[in-house]
């Protein structure tokens, strides 16, 4: 996944592009009834693609990912050649013995997403926090990658 600079939307509600899951949402909207129900419940088209946001300020990149209902131990975050990879597995905690399932919209299983970072980051200082089902990875930029102010000398 390459980063595309975010632009302020001009509409209050804007169309979302770029993810297969969004395509699936669109299909669901077009085809009401059985087929939509089928694609929604089976995760046939997409598996699990957790939604991501990427932010940048002077010192850091922050990646925010929605990963509800996971265990901290089951989330893997790694950096390799300037590419951040977030993967993991969500396990089904509930035993479905002697039960009748009415709805099954949640996805259980593995996911992986990678992001190419635009500049170098200090690999040793990356922090990841998991709270309320949201994973926040903070990646500090290296000194070389930070913007520098150069004073102009006047003779």
């Amino acid at each position: 996944m390459n980063l595309i600079r975010w632009q302020t939307p001009t509409l209050a509600t804007w169309p979302r592009f770029g993810r297969l899951t969004d395509l699936r949402d669109e299909i669901d909207r077009l085809l009401d009834g059985t087929l939509a129900e089928f694609t929604k419940t089976s995760n046939l088209l997409s598996g699990w693609t957790p939604a991501f946001d990427v932010y940048e300020d002077k010192d850091n990149f922050s990646v925010v990912a929605e990963l509800p209902g996971m265990k901290k131990e089951d989330i893997e975050v790694s950096l390799h050649n300037g590419t951040l990879s977030i993967s993991g597995e969500r396990k089904c905690e509930t035993k479905h013995e002697d039960t009748e399932v009415y709805r099954s919209e949640r996805f259980f299983g593995r996911f992986q997403r990678t992001i190419s970072l635009p500049t170098a980051v200090a690999a040793d200082n990356i922090k990841a926090q998991y709270k309320d089902g949201i994973l926040t990875v903070t990646l500090p930029k290296t000194e070389e990658a930070k913007p520098k102010q150069i004073d102009v000398a006047v003779n």
Binding site: T13, E66, T94, E100, T138
Partner: protein, 125 residues
Amino acid sequence: MNTTVQKHEKAKPVPRAEEFVAPSVDIFETNEGYVLEAEMPGVNKDGLEITLEGAEITITGHRVNVPPAGETLFRERRPVDYRRTFELDPAIDTGRISARMNQGVLTLTLPKSAKAKPQKIAVTD
């Protein structure tokens, strides 16, 4: 297949507070009752609102939405709250419904009332 003809209208600016998405849910029934699990990442215990009205239960989740500082480079998450309504089986004992929030997943336990549970009747001679 039903086709709904939609009129193309110019997008009206919608106040953000009125935007909701339906959370994905799993619902299953056991002998004891029903269990509902809803995915609401970014919602904690304080942002959760569960209302019972007649035979309908509505779950609303308000996000704690504090984006990190700086400009947005890439965005997929939608900064809207969650809401979904379910119709309840009359067998559910509404007084004993309990809710638990764990890492963005709400677990709602809806026990059946004692008289709705299957009972064994002893046969006398």
